[in-house]
Subunit: 143 residues, 3 copies
Amino acid sequence: MIIKLERIKLQTRKTEEAINITAQVDGVVQKSGVKNGLVNVLTTHTSSGLLVTEGLPCLEEDILTHLSRLFPEDENYHHRRYLDYDGRLGFNADAHLKSIIGGVSCAFPIENGRIVRGSRQTIYFMEYDGPLERTYLIQILGE
Amino acid sequence: MIIKLERIKLQTRKTEEAINITAQVDGVVQKSGVKNGLVNVLTTHTSSGLLVTEGLPCLEEDILTHLSRLFPEDENYHHRRYLDYDGRLGFNADAHLKSIIGGVSCAFPIENGRIVRGSRQTIYFMEYDGPLERTYLIQILGE
Amino acid sequence: MIIKLERIKLQTRKTEEAINITAQVDGVVQKSGVKNGLVNVLTTHTSSGLLVTEGLPCLEEDILTHLSRLFPEDENYHHRRYLDYDGRLGFNADAHLKSIIGGVSCAFPIENGRIVRGSRQTIYFMEYDGPLERTYLIQILGE
């Protein structure tokens, strides 16, 4: 059994951003030496997410717009915290809620050394509270 | 270690539909020869989903109705695309958004050759943009 | 390959409640003897959930409040059922819908005998229809 774990760093540039990480995941799978198995991809942060959808800029905008429609920044949230990076009291409950309902991980089969996914399935790292340096994990299990 | 991957085809009949696939998943697990392990079930399409809930027709209706309440078809989405099957510009951003928040996969343990799940946990393939021929994956890892 | 499955019982105390189960999951991982692998945690009930977010009481309140804002108890749901524990017709479609969009499972890597997760990632069992005795599963695969 082969078990590999990669920690990938990512500098996000905006408050909210959908970053296509499909090529990185494919690359890690291909160089892992695993022929058949499973790849699990997950964020390590609670104000970011990981999700699978079609890889289109217009859809990236729709996701961010409509998650914000469901969880507006200026709702009367209980959770407010001091944000180190801008030296003021901040509000990121909306980011946590988007993370929860958009999801934080995905898992795909590996067959003959390649990830098995639908032709339109694109893997996105979702920044909901940036810009920040982020880390996501790619774990591969198989043989 | 045994690793098996099945691709299951499914013809959906409606624009939106919740299809109970629990028996198929159980069957693939039981004939896999895996005694203990994990089964991962996932859709390969970004305008469909895969989720676990109680197996009741009234609840199927509630899921479809209330996902459509959150993401109405006639919102002002950025994503519009030409739909081959009806020869016109179409709108399926709502289908992608439902797929993202309803989820696209589930994973259960296998013990003594059988899937371990709660008595009411039913596995659904969710069509949000049909009717279409769809494929979902059942992967089994174990021994 | 080591494969272990634990069933954990949990008595919830409120109609809706977010219960931090991170320490229990860590404990099961550490005593499993698995050095490298995967842990999958999942609820066995369709009116409860399992999710990962920051471990803060104010955020627990925000999650429950805002899932209820999206799926109010008094919406006109199709699904109504008799509730044994209070002897009357009940409404828990909202609980099922919260379970679906909040999610029912999480999976993390294990490395050197310890679960790998971000410093703020806290694992919650989510009760949406209590109080009830609940069971969740912790499965560990690895070596």
